[in-house]
């Protein structure tokens, strides 16, 4: 990215990280990407009762060029998949993605020829939000968790170090397919 990536690791970088994270999370602008039923709950989040405006996010940008967050709300069909990818590509960095609802997370109840089984086949997802559809409060919870994640994002040398640590942990961890026994 910019100069902040090149700062040496240390107190200065941590301060810059904290500041950048704070700024980014408090004015995250979502892109309008409502597809199906979850879109209605997303609209409900945008209106008075659940009020996403208190987080500075009521301005759903129609143009992906101006948006930071793509909330994929609804089932992604085979015809729509290239469009999802194109909109994601048109968003400038930094960008995040919430897969809202089970259809976006994993294909949901529609395990068939027409639906992409999880939008993470197409775009990298930061938060998976289950529900069919998730209540507006659940979406707000997911957004707040994303805010926490954004606020804690590391930059530059710290990010490189964190990625190495995560990779090492992932290589050590037991794969889900080998966890036998209780399915909980």
């Amino acid at each position: 990215m910019g100069i902040e990536e090149k700062l040496p690791s240390g107190f200065l970088l941590s301060t810059v990280e904290g500041l950048a994270g704070y700024m980014r999370k408090n004015s995250l602008w979502p892109a309008t990407f409502g597809l199906a039923c979850c879109a209605i709950e997303m609209m409900a989040v945008g209106t008075g009762r659940y009020d996403i405006a208190r987080f500075g996010m009521e301005a759903f940008r129609a143009s992906p060029r101006q948006a930071d967050l793509m909330i994929v709300a609804g089932r992604v069909s085979q015809k729509m998949a290239p469009v999802v990818r194109q909109v994601w590509d048109q968003m400038p960095n930094p960008k995040w993605c919430i897969a809202m609802g089970v259809c976006a997370s994993s294909g949901g109840m529609f395990n068939n020829y027409a639906i992409v089984q999880g939008v993470d086949h197409i775009v990298p997802v930061d938060i998976y939000l289950p529900g069919c559809p998730p209540r507006p409060e659940m979406l707000l919870d997911a957004i707040l968790k994303l805010h926490a994640q954004i606020g804690a994002t590391k930059l530059g040398a710290h990010a490189v170090k964190e990625n190495l640590e995560l990779e090492a942990a992932a290589l050590q961890a037991q794969p889900t397919s080998e966890m036998k026994g209780l399915l909980r």
């Binding site: 309008t32 199906a36 609209m43 209106t47 008075g48 129609a62 048109q90 639906i115």
Partner: protein
């Protein structure tokens, strides 16, 4: 994008087709494209209002051919939300099908469920055996759903035309209705509440209280909309005369619902071919005769008032207790649901009965849940009046526990064909208003 040389002979952006030269532009390459245009710029512009758009009411792709700001042709590209629900239901029981069908037209889930259940009941031949209380609850839920759907129609229609306050108002009232749904069915949307044989749960008293509050509060909220939009000159300027489709057009294009009623024809399936006991309720069919988007807006607004009337009559009839599921144990869903410590599930009384008291109940429960009931072979077509028009289910059964073929005639699908008839010759902004007045729900259009 790419830095291919744009020679006059081989233009990277232009392809010669039967329609003439077609230039494909994807972004960041305007200068290169224009350089290749040459001296004679093309007259006809084709603009894609693409599936992702804040104003196209869902994932609808509008392909507009423009001359300046005037639309010479508009084509609607659909299929971006195609989920294969109809084929999916061929691999599910008739009862499991309810959960799929409810997600088609996601703004009016109760209508989808009801039309499907009425079709299943018609195939079973048990339409007369559905308990009266179940029918009353079905009517009440349908009218509540009509209110919530029309609120979204008016709200999002307002938002697309720029009346953001209209959207805030619409969703505010909608929250009242969704609270009632949550009280009765456990979910705000996609409830899977109406099942073949009746409804899955009786209406609790707390829900009746909420409904009575809604009925009380409605006239003041209705006045809000009237004051906000009805006489507002910008709203009228954008909707009066826009999206004109007269009776001949409607009949030719198979359009039903508020669009047909805006031509003056009082065609409402609740009156002409009643179901669920609609003939016993007292309500009017709202019509206008302006054939435009403003008339349709007025119809939707006033239909909500009629729905409140019907709901008030339902609440009166619900004071008499009764069963909500058919008495025939071979078809009825075995359990009434109840709220327990870990959420909504089978009521504890039912569990006690099947595990402790009656082997037959256990067997029935097991068979009905795993295998489902068998429906005699044949086909039916059942139609209801959904907020968008005639919603119908064509159900073919082969005598087994799963449908052989299920096809839904969704009103949005048919009504959306009239986009071209409504918008050709108008301005781009009028296309938005016309589509908003059609009020398609892409889940139903694409299924």
């Amino acid at each position: 994008m790419t830095d291919q040389a744009t020679g006059a002979a081989t233009d990277a952006y232009a392809t010669d087709t039967t329609e003439g030269r077609v230039f494909n532009v994807s972004g960041g390459d305007w200068d290169e494209m224009v350089a290749g245009l040459g001296d004679a710029p093309e007259e006809r512009i084709v603009v894609n209002m693409g599936p992702q758009h804040p104003s196209t009411h869902g994932v609808l792709r509008l392909i507009l051919e423009l001359e300046g700001e005037t639309v010479t042709d508009v084509r609607a590209g659909i299929g971006y939300l195609h989920t294969g629900i109809e084929k999916n239901c061929e691999y599910r029981n008739f009862t499991q099908g309810v959960t799929f069908v409810t997600r088609m037209d996601y703004l009016s889930p109760i209508f989808n469920e009801t039309v499907y259940c009425l079709a299943v009941e018609k195939l079973l031949g048990i339409t007369d055996q559905i308990p009266e209380r179940a029918n009353v609850i079905r009517v009440m839920m349908m009218e509540l759903n009509r209110i919530s759907s029309h609120l979204v129609a008016i709200g999002t229609g307002g938002m697309e035309l720029g009346a953001i306050t209209g959207m805030m108002f619409g969703f505010r009232e909608r929250e009242l209705v969704l609270d009632i749904f949550e009280e009765i069915a456990g979910l705000r949307m996609n409830m899977a509440y109406v099942r073949p044989g009746g409804v899955i749960q009786d209406v609790p008293d707390s829900a009746i209280e909420k409904i009575k509050q809604l009925i009380e509060v409605w006239p003041t909220r209705h006045k809000d909309y009237v004051q906000l939009l009805n006489g507002q000159p910008i709203w009228k300027g954008r909707t009066v005369g826009v999206g004109y489709l007269d009776l001949t057009g409607c009949m030719a294009l198979g359009v039903t619902g508020p669009i047909l009623r805006s031509t003056g024809l009082p065609h409402d399936l609740r009156k002409s071919q009643p179901y669920c006991g609609y003939e016993t309720y007292d309500f009017d069919v709202i019509t206008e005769d302006t054939c435009d988007a403003y008339g349709r807006y007025l119809i939707r607004l006033n239909e909500m008032g009629e729905s409140i009337k019907i709901i008030a009559q339902c609440v009166e009839r619900l004071s008499k207790p009764g069963p909500v599921m058919i008495a025939d144990k071979k078809i009825a869903w075995p359990a009434q649901l109840a709220l327990g410590g870990d959420g909504m599930g089978n009521s504890l009384a039912h569990i006690k009965k099947i595990m402790g008291e009656s082997m037959e109940s256990l067997i029935h429960h097991f068979k009905l849940v795993t295998e489902g009931f068998r429906v005699p072979a044949g086909q039916v077509y059942q139609a209801v009046e959904s907020p968008r028009g005639e919603l119908a289910c064509h159900l073919v059964s082969d005598g087994g526990t799963r449908p052989w073929r299920m096809h839904f005639r969704d009103p949005g699908f048919v009504n959306l064909q009239s986009t071209a008839a409504m918008s050709n010759g108008s301005l781009v902004a009028d296309v938005i208003a016309a589509v908003a007045s059609i009020d398609p729900v892409m889940g139903g259009v694409d299924r």
